[in-house]
Symmetry: C2
């Protein structure tokens, strides 16, 4: 069984927004064993939508569209759907009653466009969307399921979890898809591929193996599909066990966890707390740590000392040190880490100071230069990196990831 | 003229990563007047790639693929391309010489997989990729251009800017595509659509108008295409001028700038500086501010007081206040804003304190509750919001945006 995802909306085709909806849906479907074979992004155009529905419902068993369900003229998904199904829009009385009730409670008049939200193609089922005014739609055609969902992410996510996944699981019997992820550092992809080639050559025929290179890292993915979950888990573990000694010490992790999750687990295990002092990363490290549920157990806080005065006044970095070594230096990075550790009374602290660009640093430091430091009050670690070709936001993300990786390495080395 | 983008890689189809490459490329092509008609994400599968190349090169004049150019077995784009072009891989001697030179300088042995990176389909042009080992590819077929680029974002971005855009502009004469964006707050989309319906009905036939609803906001987009840029600018301005009085005071902005950019401009205009004190947003507001180039001119820094002790020790929020009103309260939000303003010596400060979930707050506060406060030392503004249904990361993003919107509203009201 295969699924197709179709995102409808010119805003994606002109690059106004990033299509994060598809990744969310793909992940959720994958978790229940339904594979996504193709994702298509197409314009708000009736003919285009109709043709794409033909294409996708011909190739896939489940098709999910997002977008184009709003009340305005540029939203044409419902009309395209009627043309495709050769049917017409009819009022769903239950949806209309609910809408009227909601507007009454809000004490807002209901206009024709609001009322039109209760129109659904004859034969389609309206899926309740308590977070918006338009319902989602479900249509069964030739034994295949077509879902039409909202483009607004929080409405779409709610419908996926409350309507789409339960209905799919009720109707179909999916196999299990098991993935295992390994993360390898400082191992050039081609050298790694040669080291793993015998192992890869001996993989069972139903296994799938893939490399995803990132900067200074390679993620490996082993996948297998079947009906017996515990057997799949056992078989995949067998292969992972063979793989681990071949990769050796450059293996970072045997999960798909992000570095902030791995670091968080390690801190909890050690019963330690962390703080960050951020200059060029501007809060991005703190944000990564905060995104992990339960991080309040070990993450005490951060000082984003974007201005030099903040480094002096809050983090207690002396003016003399800055004058002597410049803001982007090993000495200042270490002083920042020490400063925030004392201020927030944590066991360890990590700091960044660098030039994100596009303009050079005040002291003439080249764009892309950064120092990262870690301290536990006794031991210290400080490293310099240089990423002259990264765009500003990418630089910030890259340095933030590295800061967390260094903190993890520091804990592995000293604790 | 139309372009198609094809992203190749199972990692997108299983939701392992979000396809941010397509949005980057779409935006860059749009800026030079080349419209993207369709974006397709497909598996690392030779037949699938070949079929999709047929489809896209049949419909579009320019096709750009990303992904599948690596040295490992799961990367099959080059082989699929050879099958599609009915040709074979040959060594590009110049690329090979450069690779050999690079490996020699790195003092690293070159293996067969590294050497294979210099193989290109006969008749294709290798595009120099100084940030990676595999070159990009350009193939001209039936007067159409096919680019094959890397999936790794920083390599792809560099190739787009140094190779793809210049070559496209050299070969073709593109029309101009002009977009104007307006952002409207607290105006239900359907009410807005009714208010604008006469204006929309009278738009010139070659104009395109679209609504993009977000939470408590609607983005409007007016687009027009043509050969005379200044005439297009004039015509679009004429329509915007008519639109502004119809929308009235709920118009936030007449650009596509993010709220952090608009706030930054406003602060520069007023010669004022800002600091943030963040609890539940955990540094996300600071990060949004920092992402704007030049933000060091007005953004002094942030205290991420994730733990209650950090609120007391660093921000000087009294323990009595917290005991009396609880951490998630108007009083504590205001005290945090005052505290960070004094600490970082800025004109204004904004703060957040709330429960991002998934677990309730220590004081039993419901997940999704948040207070946002702004102060300039004299005037204050504090608001409570409740987003019980947002997932943790979405909650953090939403609250951060609102914090910046409130800071902007505060400046508009008091300065």
């Amino acid at each position: 069984m295969k699924a197709h995802l179709i995102t409808i909306g010119d805003e994606i085709l002109i690059g106004q927004i990033i299509d994060s909806n598809s990744a969310y849906i793909a992940k959720k479907l994958n978790e229940i064993g339904l594979e996504v074979e193709e994702i298509l992004s197409i314009p708000d155009d009736k003919d285009f939508i109709r043709n794409t529905l033909h294409y996708s419902l011909n190739k896939a068993d489940v098709v999910i569209t997002t977008g184009g369900l709003g009340p305005t003229k540029d939203d044409v998904t419902k009309n395209a759907l009627c043309e495709f199904l050769e049917t017409e829009l009819v009022v769903d009385e239950m949806i209309l009653a609910e809408l009227e009730d909601r507007y009454q409670k809000l004490n807002r008049p209901m206009n024709d466009l609001n009322r039109a939200q209760a129109l659904v193609p004859k034969g389609s089922i309206a899926l309740k969307n308590p977070l918006g005014t338009a319902p989602g739609l479900l249509t069964e055609t030739n034994g295949k399921l077509l879902f039409n969902l909202q483009g607004v992410p929080f409405e779409m996510k709610n419908l996926i979890n409350t309507e789409v996944i339960p209905r799919l699981q009720q109707k179909f019997d999916f196999p299990f898809v098991v993935h295992r992820f390994l993360s390898v550092s400082d191992y050039p992809e081609s050298d790694l591929a040669i080291a793993l080639s015998d192992w890869e050559g001996n993989l069972p025929a139903d296994f799938h193996f893939a490399y995803l290179p990132e900067r200074s890292k390679v993620k490996l993915r082993i996948s297998v599909k079947g009906n017996n979950k515990s057997e799949l888990d056992k078989r995949i573990q067998l292969e992972v066990d063979k793989l681990i000694p071949i990769i050796g010490s450059r293996l970072d992790s045997t999960t798909n966890d992000l570095v902030q999750q791995i670091l968080g687990e390690k801190l909890k295990e050690l019963g330690m707390s962390i703080a960050t002092a951020e200059s060029c990363t501007g809060g991005a490290i703190a944000q990564m740590l905060t995104n992990v549920p339960g991080s309040s157990n070990y993450f005490m806080g951060s000082v984003v000392s974007y201005a030099t005065e903040a480094k002096e006044n809050v983090l207690n970095v002396s003016n003399e040190l800055i004058e002597k070594y410049t803001v982007v230096s090993k000495e200042v990075a270490l002083a920042m880490a020490r400063g925030v550790r004392e201020l927030l009374k944590t066991q360890i602290a990590v700091s960044t100071t660098g030039v994100a660009g596009p303009a050079k640093g005040e002291d003439g430091k080249e764009v892309g230069t950064v120092w990262i430091a870690v301290t536990d009050g006794k031991n210290t670690m400080a490293k310099m990196y240089f990423f002259p070709y990264l765009e500003r936001e990418d630089f910030i993300q890259q340095v933030s990831k590295l800061a967390l990786q260094n903190a993890l390495q520091f804990l592995n080395q000293f604790h």
